[in-house]
Symmetry: C2
Subunit: 528 residues, 2 copies
Amino acid sequence: MSDITSSALPETDSTGAPAERRRRSGGRGAERVRSSDGSKYLNLVNRLARTELLDPEALEDIHQTSLTVLEEIGMDVMLPEARERMRAAGADVTEGTERVRFDRGLIEEMIASAPGEFTMHARNPARNVRIGGKNLVFAQVASAPFVADREGGRRAGNQEDYRKLVKLAQSYDVIHLTGGYPVEPIDIHASVRHLDCLSDMVKLTDKVFHCYSLGRQRNLDALEIARIGRGISHDQLDAEPSLFTVINSSSPLRLDGPMLQGIIEMSSRNQVVVMTPFTLAGAMAPVTIAGALVQQNAEALCGIAFTQMVRKGAPVMYGGFTSNVDMKTGAPAFGTPEYMKAVIAGGQLARRYGIPYRTSNTNASNTIDAQAAYESAMSLWALTQGGGNFIMHAAGWSEGGLTASFEKFILDVDMLQMVAEFLKPLDVSPDALALDAVRDVGPGGHYFGTAHTLARYENAFYNPILSDWRNFETWTEAGRPTTYDHANRIFKETLARYERPAIDPAVEEELDAFVARRKAEGGVATDF
Amino acid sequence: MSDITSSALPETDSTGAPAERRRRSGGRGAERVRSSDGSKYLNLVNRLARTELLDPEALEDIHQTSLTVLEEIGMDVMLPEARERMRAAGADVTEGTERVRFDRGLIEEMIASAPGEFTMHARNPARNVRIGGKNLVFAQVASAPFVADREGGRRAGNQEDYRKLVKLAQSYDVIHLTGGYPVEPIDIHASVRHLDCLSDMVKLTDKVFHCYSLGRQRNLDALEIARIGRGISHDQLDAEPSLFTVINSSSPLRLDGPMLQGIIEMSSRNQVVVMTPFTLAGAMAPVTIAGALVQQNAEALCGIAFTQMVRKGAPVMYGGFTSNVDMKTGAPAFGTPEYMKAVIAGGQLARRYGIPYRTSNTNASNTIDAQAAYESAMSLWALTQGGGNFIMHAAGWSEGGLTASFEKFILDVDMLQMVAEFLKPLDVSPDALALDAVRDVGPGGHYFGTAHTLARYENAFYNPILSDWRNFETWTEAGRPTTYDHANRIFKETLARYERPAIDPAVEEELDAFVARRKAEGGVATDF
């Protein structure tokens, strides 16, 4: 374990001043970070009527076919304890195998107790997120093995970049929470990686975070870190969902041991499970989008039902991640027309069950070019119109999820803010209708200097982070920067401005002690 | 007039074979062009429920406020003949001025006769376009003063690039028609430019085209060229809209002479008027989007009402082009959240009147980067969800309309095709639901080689023009091409494959004779 890096956080800003002093001299860090972006994008509400692609009969066909899959084909449930719990709940476990079949009535009965809305609690209550209903929540990129920026190129995940990305997530309020490790820091030994990473989440952000379901002990450590971070009792943690885990099925039709264990640990503590099959049409799912949706739905309903078998009323989300493969190479494709359809149809399914809907801001570009933008924009189109509630990988996801990109993070933040602005209600007050202003200006005039304009000019429109609207000549003199160039500059500026959010020193002390103790115990046993 | 270039079309393909021989050896050119893209994207229908941002009361408020504008403030109508026609129809013309006021009842009565749907007829009936209702039609970029590609950079419009862009429009069936000169060829003298350009439109494409309303004679020449191109009588032209003109108001609240003349010439011949105010919030319109929409609506209704004063039942579209300015520079901004709202609200207004809705695929980027893509994608999002019927500048518009970009054209075509694929109904037949395929594969298998997959694989998903889905290593070996690089290659490949569509030799002869005669007459008088 000589390659374990320290979990200490040598935070200094560009002036070299320690974090504590900076906080003292300028007020609470959290407030200063928030004031820099104005806290305009917390608590987003999507009031648009949801777009529907499936008529009621088609929706029912997908639902019923997926129940037939669970009833007749079943799932492989790769954990004895989970099979036992399912048998106790009434499922049909085939002795001597992992196969479990579920009566359609059992599934319908179980999923009925999943809550339609719930709150995830952050250590800073201003960062609490409301999940479900018309609420729209964005989580940072998660789980990329690689990280990239222009200067450093593409490299394996590491702690330094991990921390930088987490700091970026803290710096923009449109990023409502982190969504897992934005990049996997493989320079930290796997036995203690979760301790360092989750400790960083608590210290570098004041937002809700995620725990990976990779064995019982990691879930338990994460629950304790979440509890300590919030400074609350075990009972309060049980009463207030504060941590979430993404559960992926091993499509087709399997749930593996660590994932099932994760559901048991998290649901039994009333924490949030995001049940997400990864059903690539033509690979792990049928080549037709409708068929892939049937399989997605079967796997999602099975996992959701299991959360309710573990604890009735446990918070859970319906995750959709159906896309297609590239016909030429078999590689996953994202942000495609097929992805858009799957996202929108998935939203209809989730709403049919009254369960919050998780989807993703995806793209498969290898760089920060037009493709990266149009695939992401089309993902955002579908998930916004389709009523996504909880958006994973909302900022920074590049190369089909293989790379967390610093520049893509900024590009996505700008697009997310545009979505948020688009969702703001249009002001149609008499003052906004501006009859008097039109009368004052009259035919042939202009509105540049009018009182109506001057009173509203500064905040009338969204001021984008990246869009370069200078005229061609000025832009040429500036060296013809592209969006990629601007994003590169801005992520570095944002990191330079980053300040750690305020934390109760007693909380930090307890957290450090817990991490130190667990490290001294060796963390989690690994076979290397 | 020594700078007038020839209107002859020395068409050769890369083999140097003349067009006629190529057509003979390979069938009719039009068919071959169509077969190259499979004619998949003609006659697009948008079945999505329209997104609405205005509740019924807000919609009525905007409507009524705009009628108040026309009633109390009025418009400056800068053509005596137009004022005379308006007075005859019941409008209140203030003697000795250009000001005309319109009773709200008069406007409502006049616009009621505008048709809700109509067909524009191309010389190739397969290229006819249905306007209004659920139909969605894409027109190429129009009216850019500059043209750009990577090698040649940004340059003034010229005939060679004009022709290349028109050929590109012919090469993709998702481009349903041309929308004006894609770039203004200033190397052709203004007196005969319209003759050369429209003759090219007829010969290089078999699609519907546009005529600029820049004086009566140009309208008359365009009508004659459209008639000759279709090989029909004057009576048939009057019965079948075959040509369209975009009429812009000189916002705020003015209609200039050539535009009014254009309405008179085109509407009286039952041709199509696209009535489009250009209402930039904070410049030529109030800084609030609601106020800009009030003004847009007043100007649009005035122009639409005038078409019906000229000829009851004349085909007309409601054009929306409201966007905002950059707060820093005053430059127009496009594809913004404010633009999206204006596009969607404009669609609600157009549907309230039962008049086909024209909008645009816009962006303000100076190059083909992520900004160009996200601003366009967000435009497409809004116009698709907002029920745009007729989309100007759908492909090739760059730099806020100042430049027609070859690479942007390809990027847009790819995005338009994605929109078209997204709008295709989702197949939810029992076969697509794939229960048997799921049963065959079972838990833990994969779908790559199954019969269900193999039978559908090739056409299961959209195959994009530009998206580079190779893995990072392969992409790196290929030199890390961006979308811009791919688009650059592909526009040249497309031009190399271009073939002129078939044309009746008698039609071509008549067209050439008309153009030659009109040129001999000096075209249209200019003061230079």
